[in-house]
Amino acid sequence: MIDHTSRPVAIELSALTKRFGDMAAVDGVDLQIAEGEFFSMLGPSGSGKTTVLRLIAGFEQPTSGTVSLFGRDVTTVAPFDRDVNTVFQDYALFPHMSVLDNVAYGLRVRGMSRITRHARAREALDRVRLADFADRKPTQLSGGQRQRVALARATVVEPKALLLDEPLGALDLKLREQLQVELKELQRSLGITFIFVTHDQEEALTLSDRIAVFNNGRIEQLGTPAELYERPVSPFVASFVGTSNIFDDAVSLALLGRRGTHSLRPERIGLTVGDTADGITAPGTIAEVIYLGTNTRILVDLDAGQRITVLAPYGRERFSDHDRGARVTASWRDADVISLQSPTTPPTAPSEKTPIEMRSR
């Protein structure tokens, strides 16, 4: 994993704001991304991820704030003069050019000779294992192949940073998982900075060195995958990154004996038949058992009034559909309960600044 603190800064956003009419699509974002980092922006639809990317690439002009690339303020520099390249969500392959010409495009506009640029483009296609498809038109490719062409096209010009806007969004799950691995390997082998936009939390967790969780144009939390998952700072982050059981003030008081908002991950909850269990316990009734293959997801209506989700991995006691209505006891360790701060002032580097309750092992 890349340690972002010890490396030179690749991309720096300062107080970046972009308004469309009244609405602030991006609202005062400060961010530093290190060279060689795999950085993801995660957030619900409309939270401003794409807009940040477009501001970095130069397709949009910020309303205020600045964008610096590799130490140079590029806020007013045109896209074609910025040393970053983009892989678009819809790939934006030129439909009238062959795959090879698409990949060679960036070299062509840099004035490279036909022979050289074709040779390089073929190398790049080789890297994404599409050498045999060089002469096809983009429409003759499948979604996954197109995505790889887009990657080859963006990387062949050897940018210092690559911006990827949900490049896997249009693909089906299996293909997606496969391409995630390839993407990660590509990034390792090229060693360049990736800024990756997604709304899929699992994808972000899988790939990233660090993740910024966006909400309403602001960064709600910034940190490594583990920091986000294990120490979310707000109910929003807790339920956006993975599934969480959120206990509000009243439920917290009833179940935990203290006030405040708390979250608890489904896999940290144990479930036993009857009423013997360690740690904090709460009795309830099974409402639904969903077989997931790897795990089983169980919804339990606690007597305390809250419905909670429990994730039982393979190997623990197994529940099935027939157990609906069975009386069970849910149990968890108090250390696994996360106390959530209110999200009013989202810190940009929560790992250093925020006083959150640490989970002791």
């Binding site: 690439a57 130069g58 397709f59 045109a78 896209p79 074609f80 390249n85 983009t86 678009f88 819809d90 934006a92 392959l93 030129f94 439909p95 009238h96 050019m97 495009y105 960036g106 062509r108 506009v109 840099r110 096209r153 963006a154 010009v157 038949v273 099974i286 006691e317 197994r318 529940f319 099935s320 559909d321 027939h322 157990d323 609906r324 209505g325 069975a326 009386r327």
Partner: protein, 315 residues
Amino acid sequence: MTSKAPEADTSTPPTHPARDRVAAPSITLARRASTYLSRHARLRLAVLLSAPLLWLGLVYVAALAALLITALWTVDSFTGQISQTWTLDNIVAVVTGSLYQTVTLRTVGVAILVTIVDIVIALPIAFFMAKVASPRLQRILVIAVLMPLWASYLVKAYAWRSVLSQDGLWDFVVAPFGIESPGYGLPATVITLSYLWLPYVILPIYAGLERVPDSLLEASSDLGARTWRTLGLVVLPMLWPAIIAGSIFSFSLSLGDYITVNIVGGTNQLLGNLVYTNVGAANNLPLAASIALIPIVIMFVYLAAVRRTGALNNL
């Protein structure tokens, strides 16, 4: 697991509020026809195609064929009656006559020039409309481009005659800058025809540009292409079908025009004039039909050449 869950309610059928089931659609004649037709795709196609094909076939293709046959007949110069004796004389005369070669070259030259002028003017305007203007401005611009279509062709041609005349508006406004009015002649014809057909060229190009996704333009500049390269390497190639669609209008309308050239063309005549003169004068339809073959052949060659670009679906 030892405890047994109580029997879930899923195995019992759902209880709907007591009321009628939704009835099946009633069997009307239209429905019976639907049912029949839905099993016979060919018949469906026949129903769709018969009326338009009959129309185009009977009205147009038959008329065109008859005209071409007429080209093989002669006319009795004394009575003006067509005599149906087969001869290639007219066609030979048209193919070999230097008059027809000269006028054909002139006409095609004018048509090409008009087309080029229109495309060159239409491109930036269409680009501005499609890619720069706000939606509101876009709407206004479309209206602005369409409106002149409604001021009669003849009136506009005469307006140009007035503008181009000696001491006319052109000389009044532009001549002080050193560009004198070209007067009446081929340049005036090209100007006027370009003016008349411009909206027919702007509209398809505008529509074509709207179909070029912005993301492609962004991708191009992202890869380092400056605006002009993007236009040359991405926009223009993608726009070809639309440009050709527009050119079919300007080219074919110019190819057949004989009125504008009369009004502003000075002494020049175009193919249309020759055809027109021969239909009337001595009522020589066979010769007129033979001359008409020239634009027909030119357009067929042109259509065949552009068909591959897919432009024919973008008129």
